[in-house]
């Protein structure tokens, strides 16, 4: 099948590449751009491990063709650290609150939480749980993921830093 030229911005970098129409965005990111942070978990639109930010929307990159993202602006977990390389508030929150165990779901969780906090800077616990309901974690039981997002929300809104969790 003929390939088509696509152009998009990924983590602030302009990218041009040839893709088959059937190439899924997750495969494009992982295999053509070598950005392996977004994970393939269920591959059936359930787990959210492949979540990336696309033009201000959280999307499951296993359920979108790369060709549909032509002209889009995409952020993946690789684009989440601060400009100086230090951890962003969300990344720091996941570290400080033990928001991960095996870490497989973490890139998707952080990308989803990133958009959630952009839309709602001070979410309640219930809003956080509803907001991440498209992301599955099989390790943590979600408690510490919720705390990690609360940590980031507090930090981003200028609240004093909390002590590290045990």
């Amino acid at each position: 099948m003929a390939k088509t030229q696509v152009r998009m911005s990924v983590n602030g970098r302009e990218v041009e590449a040839l893709v088959e129409p059937r190439t899924l965005l997750i495969h494009f990111l992982r295999e053509q751009l070598s950005l392996t942070g977004a994970h393939i978990g269920c591959d059936t639109t359930h787990c959210g491990a492949c979540t990336v930010d696309l033009d201000g929307k959280s999307v499951k990159s296993c359920t979108l063709f790369a060709i549909q993202a032509d002209g889009a602006s995409i952020t993946t977990i690789e684009g989440m650290a601060n400009a100086d390389g230090s951890l962003s508030a969300l990344q720091e929150g996941f570290r400080m609150e033990h928001g991960l165990q095996c870490g497989f779901c973490t890139p998707g969780m952080i990308m989803r939480a990133h958009r959630l906090l952009k839309e709602n800077a001070n979410p309640s616990e219930e809003e956080i749980r509803f907001g991440i309901s498209g992301n599955l974690c099989r390790c943590t039981g979600y408690q510490n993921i919720v705390k990690a997002i609360q940590y980031a929300a507090a930090k981003l809104s200028g609240a004093p830093a909390k002590e590290a969790a045990e």
Partner: protein
């Protein structure tokens, strides 16, 4: 999982889209939000030769009031429905239902047009549009036509849409101010299709129901219009006898599949429970 190869088209106008669909007739599929079609293509349950992506057609976007109805462009996403003050004010059952569709990520891309046009009996919007007596605007090579939601569904994935036709907009008559509404969806987890669901829109005068529509999701090959159940509560104040009569009448038209969500008996039983709950909540929130 990798879908079978296809040729990709991204028309900029409806005229271009219908021409493409006409040209490729039954070998083309319309790609809206892709949140049902792409998973089907990955499983190779769908393998169209041509994919016509209608995501770049500006005419298919937007929500507007037109007289006594709301017109919702087919490419309006569930996320946009949830965020719309106009929808929240005039047809709040649509907002309530959108929040029960799939999960946040899917709602950013999944469209109302795709939800109603796909003909999947598990989808939530078809029953809600039937409950509201909405109509679908449909465009094809032969021109434009309107089909009522109540006449659109023929079977599982079988609808009144002919090859090459696109649902372009949904027209929803605005229910009377102060109407009662509820969409009760029993599901195993967020993101799941309904084990059983019921939509209710009613008008009550001094606590007595004067108008009522009840429809059901995922309790048959198509969404179901439970007319006899609705008739059973009109004129009542939703006393125990009327509620029981409505649930009983609704159960007689249910024909759910036995699957991982439950047996036929279980799903039929809880289907009646959803009808009772939706009726009670709808009456409680009505303000007339």
């Amino acid at each position: 999982m990798i879908p079978a190869p296809f040729a990709y088209h991204r028309p900029k106008s409806l005229a271009e889209a219908t021409a493409l669909l006409g040209q490729h007739a039954d070998t083309a599929r319309v790609l809206a939000g892709g949140q049902s079609l792409i998973p089907m293509m990955k499983l190779r349950l769908a393998a169209p030769d041509h994919l016509v992506d209608i995501g770049a057609i500006a005419e298919l976007k937007g929500i507007a009031r037109k007289g006594d109805s709301i017109s919702i462009g087919a490419m309006t996403t569930q996320h946009e429905l949830v965020a719309s003050p106009l929808v929240a004010e005039t047809v709040p059952i649509i907002r309530e239902t959108s929040l029960l569709v799939a999960d946040p990520q899917v709602r950013y891309l999944g469209t109302v047009g795709g939800n109603v046009a796909n003909g999947d009996p598990g989808n939530d919007m078809p029953a809600v549009m039937m409950c509201l007596d909405a109509s679908y605007r449909i465009l094809g090579r032969g021109g434009e036509r309107r089909v009522k939601a109540r006449e659109f569904y023929r079977g599982a994935y079988a609808t009144a849409l002919a090859d090459g036709e696109i649902v372009t907009a949904i027209e929803v008559p605005i229910p009377r101010a102060g109407h009662g509404y509820a969409y009760e969806k029993l599901k195993r987890k967020i993101g799941d299709y309904a084990t059983a669901a019921a939509a209710v829109v009613l008008v009550a005068d001094a606590g007595k129901i004067s108008q009522c529509a009840i429809t059901l999701s995922n309790l048959g090959d198509t969404p179901l219009n439970a007319e006899a159940a609705a008739a059973a509560v009109v004129g009542s104040s939703l006393d125990a006898a009327a509620l029981a009569a409505a649930a009983k009448a609704a159960r007689t038209i249910m024909a759910p599949a036995a699957d991982t969500r439950g047996s036929v008996e279980y799903r039929t039983y809880v289907g009646g429970v959803m009808v009772e709950r939706a009726l009670k909540r709808a009456l409680a929130c009505s303000k007339t």
